[in-house]
């Protein structure tokens, strides 16, 4: 997001900017979502091996990708907040966490929905699904830690340290689970064939873009609530139209 942060690094200025930005992300997200779902569920051809059930990947794969991407972005913002002492960066990290966790849950849930017709089981100890589960716990740990700490400054900084340590550990955890999975010869959730039909690619990218834009829109909205709550004793909040009512 190429914006001159210095001007908007004060929560009071960012509040207004974020409010204006939200529709610019929300509407395209909705459009791309509809497009992606339409292409994925109606236009893309039936898979040779997995028939109709495979279509769940158009939700599953983007959700997985985003859950990991958001964790890194969250850790990045948290690190910025810790190193440069900018409260807004920390607030962004706090705002991103629930969305990241949601995508992890969607990924796990759609993974299960996919697994059932594929393997006859609601859960398989696939390396990626297991790593996704651990990622969900990392998110929940972050959220739980921040909710248990009353002092906002300590919550920001403790969460940041946890997120940074977590992001360093994510590759380690991923590879450990990979290794474990090959040892125990677990099932692998895979797409049949190495090349994807053009419509499948379109659907995938559409959904990926839709979820990404949605994540941005919802996080901006959430960070606005966080700003309001943390700055509730200041003058500029009292002057806001929505507060004065």
């Amino acid at each position: 997001m190429a914006i001159n942060w210095f001007k908007y690094s004060a929560p009071s200025s960012f509040y207004g900017l974020a409010g204006k930005m939200i529709p610019w992300f929300a509407w395209p997200a909705a459009v791309l979502f509809c497009m992606g779902m339409y292409i994925g569920f109606f236009v893309a051809p039936t898979d040779a091996v997995q028939s109709e059930a495979y279509r769940i990947i158009f939700v599953h794969v983007p959700a997985s990708i985003l859950s990991m991407f958001i964790y890194l972005v969250m850790a990045g913002y948290a690190a910025l907040g810790l190193i440069f002492n900018t409260r807004l960066s920390s607030m962004m990290a706090t705002a991103l966490a629930p969305t990241g966790a949601l995508f992890a849950v969607i990924s796990l849930w759609t993974g299960a929905l996919w697994g059932k017709p594929m393997w006859g089981a609601w859960w398989v100890w696939d390396a990626r699904l297991t790593s996704e589960l651990i990622l969900l716990f990392l998110y929940l740990g972050f959220i739980a830690l921040q909710s248990s700490i009353e002092d906002p400054r300590r919550a920001d900084r403790a969460g940041a340290l946890l997120a940074i340590v977590g992001s360093v550990n994510v590759p380690i955890i991923y590879f450990s689970v990979q290794w474990w999975n090959t040892l125990h010869q677990g099932s692998t959730v895979k797409l049949s064939g190495t090349s994807m039909h053009i419509a499948m690619q379109q659907a995938m990218f559409s959904m990926l873009a839709a979820m990404w834009l949605y994540a941005i829109a919802i996080s901006l909205s959430r960070v606005r609530s966080i700003i309001l709550e943390r700055e509730r004793n200041t003058h500029w909040v009292a002057e806001l139209a929505e507060v004065k009512q």
Binding site: E150, D151, P152, R153, E231, N233
Partner: protein, 204 residues
């Protein structure tokens, strides 16, 4: 030696104090005053380096605290509300450990002398949990006698002490000041040190 410029501290999201300026030189005594919740303890803890101030700077002998890092700690003794002694150890063991950690290992003879001066004769080797509140506070205060640091930061040093002990503390602080020491303290009781003028710093 200690110079504070434009210091501001916050707790939670609201500001406790701002624009604080003062200097403290060797042999000087400074009392921090203010109502409950005005940030006295926060100021003292900021001076110890526990809390990052919201704004402003603290300098010891010209160098900023952030520059000095752990070197700064060699120059100070902090006495907070908690006694900082282990209940399961004896008074003597507690003193041995704290003196060793601070770098000036004290002989048992000196440690026992310090405890006796604090009125704990005969109780030096009992587990601290067998002592009364006032006696435990005396064990905590005994640290001041063996540590050779220049700057004393004392948060309500007289709490739980009887009249005799209060007099003793005033004496000990007086001696420290004559030895070119610096003392910053808060108190709800009155603390008079003979021969030294108590400067006041009011936090609002």
């Amino acid at each position: 030696m200690l110079k504070v410029t434009n210091l501001a501290c916050t707790r939670g999201e609201h500001q406790l104090f701002a624009g604080l300026n003062f200097r403290l030189a060797a042999g000087e005594l400074l009392q921090v005053q203010g109502e409950n919740g005005s940030g006295k303890t926060t100021l003292l803890r900021a001076l110890c380096g526990f809390i990052q101030p919201f704004a402003g700077e603290i300098r010891w002998q010209g160098k900023a605290l952030s520059e000095l890092g752990e070197e700064y700690f060699a120059n100070l003794v902090y006495l907070g509300h908690a006694n900082a002694i282990k209940d399961e150890l004896s008074a003597l063991e507690n003193l041995r450990i704290s003196s060793a950690l601070s770098g000036c290992t004290v002989s048992d003879k000196d440690a026992i002398a310090a405890l006796r001066r604090m009125g704990l004769r005969g109780r030096e080797t009992f587990a601290v949990k067998m002592l009364s509140q006032g006696q435990r506070r005396r064990v905590a205060l005994a640290r001041l006698l063996i540590n050779r640091a220049r700057l004393w930061i004392l948060d309500e040093p007289l709490a739980a002490l009887d009249v005799g002990a209060v007099g003793l503390m005033q004496e000990i602080i007086g001696e420290h000041l004559s030895n070119q020491g610096l003392v910053i303290f808060t108190t709800h009781q009155s603390l008079q040190v003979s021969g030294a003028e108590t400067r006041q710093l009011k936090l609002s």
